[in-house]
C-alpha cells in the first residue's frame, strides 16, 4: 500500500506504531488492518515501510514501522482514502505462501 504513495525504499523504520484489530473472516481482518494503517498514516502524518503481524484466531496484533512524512524526500503521489472490499481476498497459494490483496481508494 505504501508503494502506491511513495518509493518504499525511502521510508525509514524509525518509529513503531502498535495496531490491533479483529474480524471473523481472514479477508475482512486484512481489510480492517489496512484501514487501521490508513487511519494511523493520516492522523500521525506518517508513512510505514515495515510491518510485523501475528494472527491468533480472529485477532490481529501488528507493529507498523515508519516515519513522519517528509514531502521533499518522499514526494508522496497520492493519499490512500481507505481500503475497499473490491478484489478483496486472502488465500494460501501454496503451503506457507499467502496472497492478500484488495483495491485501495486514492
Amino acid at each position: 500500500m505504501t508503494a502506491v504513495i511513495t518509493d518504499l525504499n525511502r521510508v525509514r523504520p524509525s518509529q513503531a506504531v502498535a495496531i490491533e484489530c479483529e474480524a471473523h473472516e481472514l479477508d475482512l481482518l486484512f481489510y480492517k488492518w489496512l484501514n487501521a494503517l490508513v487511519f494511523e498514516m493520516a492522523t500521525r502524518c506518517m508513512l510505514f515501510g515495515a510491518f510485523e503481524v501475528s494472527i491468533d484466531g480472529t485477532r490481529l496484533k501488528g507493529l507498523a514501522r515508519g516515519e513522519k512524512v517528509d514531502r521533499a524526500r518522499h514526494a508522496p503521489a497520492v493519499e490512500v482514502k481507505g481500503a475497499t472490499l473490491t478484489e478483496l481476498k486472502v488465500e494460501e497459494q501454496k503451503p506457507g505462501c499467502w496472497l492478500a490483496q484488495c483495491i485501495v481508494d486514492v
Partner: protein, 476 residues
C-alpha cells in the same frame, strides 16, 4: 464493453431489460463509441444496482461511467424509503460530497499571463495541497461540531467567505439533517488539521480561460465571457468523509443479511433507509457534506486572498458550487405522482433544469450550472441542467472525463518532469509537490471530456454553456 449487451433506444440511450433479480431496467446514457470504451464491469455493476430493494424507475449510468466500488462511478440510483428502499455508502463514495466550484475573476487572459508564474507560486504557497500538508485551521471538538452542522455558513461565520456565496452553493451552503453524533471520533481526528486543504490525486485548483462560448444567453447569465478567466476548485470532505465512508461500508456489509438484503456483490453494501444504520449513515453523510462545503468555501477564500495581492479589484464572485458524490432527499415525478426519493449520485452531478425553485433568481431561467472537469492539460466545461434532465435521470449529469489508463500504466508511460515541461510549452503552469503524482495525472491518462459532455447534451441531461482551458494548475 460490448454494445450488443444493450437494447438501443437512441444514439445516446441504451437499456438492459430487467432479468433475474433486477427490479428495474438499467439505462446507460452514452454514445456507442463511449460504451465501447467502457470497462465490462460497468454492465455488471449497473445491473447489480438494479437489484437493490426500493429502487425507482431504473439504475442509470452517465456517459463517463467506469467501474467503482459496488456502484459504477457515474452511477445514479433513486430509492423510496416507503418501499423498503436502501441507502448505500458505496453509492455515495469515499469522498463524500467531492465537488467543484468556479469563481469568476473578470480578468482577461493577458492579465493572468503577465503574472502567471508568480500567481501560480502564490496559490501553491497559500493553499495546502498533497499528502502531509496541514491546514492552517485546527478545529477543537466544539468547532468541529459547529462545522459539521453549519457547512459553508459556518465558514462564513468564521470570516472565510462572503455572504453572497451561500446562494450559489447547493442547499445554500448548509445541508440540513446533519448528525455530528453519528460521526466517529476517528473521523473527527482525521479531519482535525485538514480544513482548507486540497488533498491529492485528481483534486486541483485551476485558473482557466473561457475559450469558447457554446450558449451565449446562458453564459451571459452565468457571467462567463470569452477571453476572461475563472478559478475552479475540485476537492471534497477530506479525511472525515473518507473515514465515514470506510466505517459505514464495513458496517453495512456486515449487517446487510440481518436486514434481509441479498447482496449480489459485497461491495454493494447497503442498508434500509429506515434502519438504524441507514439513519446514522444519512446523518453522518450530511455532516460530511457540510465538511466538504466548508472546505471549498475556505479554499475559495484563500484563492481570493492571493488574487487580491495581484489584482486589487478582483472580487472572485462565486458562480456555483456543486457536488458529485452525494445522496440527496429530493422530490421527483414518478408515473405522475410526486415522491420523495433518496437519489444517489456517485461520480455524477445533480443538474436541475430551468425553473427549479432551489436555484438562485439570476440562474433559475437557465438551469443549474454543472461544472465538469477534464484533465489538467486539456479542457473543462460548464454546462447547465436541461429541462429534459428530470425525466431522463432524476436531474443528473456526468462529472468528468474518467480515467482511460491506470495510475500504474500512466507512470510507465510518462515522467512527471516531461508532463510539466510539455504543459509549460503549451502555456500551462503546473505546481505540485509530487512529480510522480503529475505523471499519474497526465492528460493522456484521461478520456476525452468533450466526447462525454457532447453525449450528455445529446442525451438531454445538460447543455454546454462554455469551454475552459487551464492556464495554472495546482495539484496534490
Amino acid at each position: 464493453m460490448d454494445v450488443k449487451l444493450f437494447d438501443r433506444i437512441s444514439n445516446t440511450e441504451w437499456h438492459v431489460a430487467p432479468t433475474g433479480a433486477m427490479r428495474v431496467p438499467a439505462v446507460i446514457f452514452a454514445t456507442e463509441g463511449l460504451i465501447g470504451d467502457m470497462d465490462d464491469k460497468v454492465f455488471q455493476q449497473i445491473t447489480n444496482v438494479a437489484t437493490l430493494p426500493g429502487i425507482v424507475r431504473a439504475a442509470y449510468a452517465m456517459p463517463d461511467a467506469h467501474w467503482g466500488y459496488g456502484f459504477p462511478i457515474g452511477g445514479v440510483a433513486a430509492f423510496d424509503a416507503n418501499a423498503g428502499g436502501v441507502i448505500s455508502a458505496g453509492g455515495v463514495g469515499f469522498d463524500i460530497s467531492c465537488g467543484v466550484r468556479t469563481h469568476l475573476t473578470g480578468l482577461p487572459r493577458q492579465y493572468i499571463e503577465e503574472r502567471q508564474n508568480d500567481l501560480a507560486s502564490a496559490l501553491y504557497r497559500q493553499v495546502p495541497v498533497g499528502v502531509g500538508a496541514e491546514g492552517k485551521i485546527a478545529l477543537d471538538d466544539q468547532e468541529m461540531t459547529a462545522m459539521l452542522t453549519g457547512g459553508a455558513a459556518w465558514a462564513l461565520g468564521r470570516g472565510w467567505g462572503r455572504a453572497h456565496d451561500l446562494e450559489r452553493i447547493e442547499e445554500r451552503g448548509r445541508c440540513e439533517g446533519a448528525d455530528p453524533a453519528a460521526v466517529s471520533d476517528h473521523a473527527r481526528k482525521r479531519q482535525r488539521r485538514e480544513m482548507g486543504t486540497l488533498g491529492s490525486g485528481n483534486h486541483y485548483l485551476e485558473v482557466q480561460e473561457v475559450v469558447e462560448i457554446c450558449d451565449e444567453p446562458a453564459a451571459n447569465a452565468f457571467g462567463l465571457k470569452q477571453g476572461e478567466c475563472v478559478v475552479t476548485i475540485h476537492c471534497g470532505s477530506r479525511g472525515l468523509g473518507h473515514q465515514i465512508g470506510t466505517e459505514f461500508l464495513s458496517e453495512m456489509a456486515e449487517t446487510a443479511e440481518s436486514h434481509g438484503i441479498v447482496l449480489p456483490d459485497r461491495e454493494l453494501a447497503c442498508a434500509p433507509i429506515k434502519s438504524d444504520v441507514g439513519q446514522r449513515y444519512i446523518g453522518a453523510m450530511r455532516a460530511a457534506t457540510n465538511c466538504a462545503l466548508a472546505n471549498r468555501e475556505i479554499i475559495g477564500h484563500l484563492a481570493r486572498q492571493v488574487f487580491a495581492q495581484f489584482f486589487k479589484h478582483a472580487e472572485l464572485p462565486l458562480l456555483f458550487d456543486v457536488s458529485h458524490n452525494t445522496c440527496k432527499l429530493e422530490e421527483h415525478d414518478v408515473d405522475g405522482t410526486r415522491k420523495r426519493l433518496h437519489v444517489h449520485r456517485k461520480g455524477a452531478t445533480r443538474a436541475f433544469g430551468p425553473g427549479h425553485p432551489s436555484l438562485p433568481d439570476a440562474l433559475r431561467p437557465w438551469g443549474q450550472p454543472v461544472l465538469i472537469g477534464g484533465s489538467m492539460g486539456t479542457q473543462s466545461f460548464i454546462l447547465a441542467g436541461a429541462s429534459t434532465s428530470e425525466a431522463r435521470a432524476f436531474s443528473s449529469a456526468c462529472h468528468g472525463a474518467g480515467r482511460q489508463m491506470s495510475r500504474h500504466q500512466a507512470l510507465k508511460t510518462w515522467m512527471g518532469r516531461q508532463v510539466i515541461d510539455e504543459l509549460r510549452a503549451r502555456g500551462i503552469v503546473v505546481r505540485s509537490p509530487s512529480s510522480r503524482g503529475i505523471a499519474e495525472e497526465a492528460p493522456g491518462a484521461y478520456k476525452d471530456v468533450r466526447a462525454v459532455v457532447d453525449a450528455a447534451e445529446m442525451a438531454g441531461l445538460a447543455k454546454k454553456v462554455a469551454r475552459l482551458q487551464p492556464m495554472i494548475c495546482i495539484k496534490g
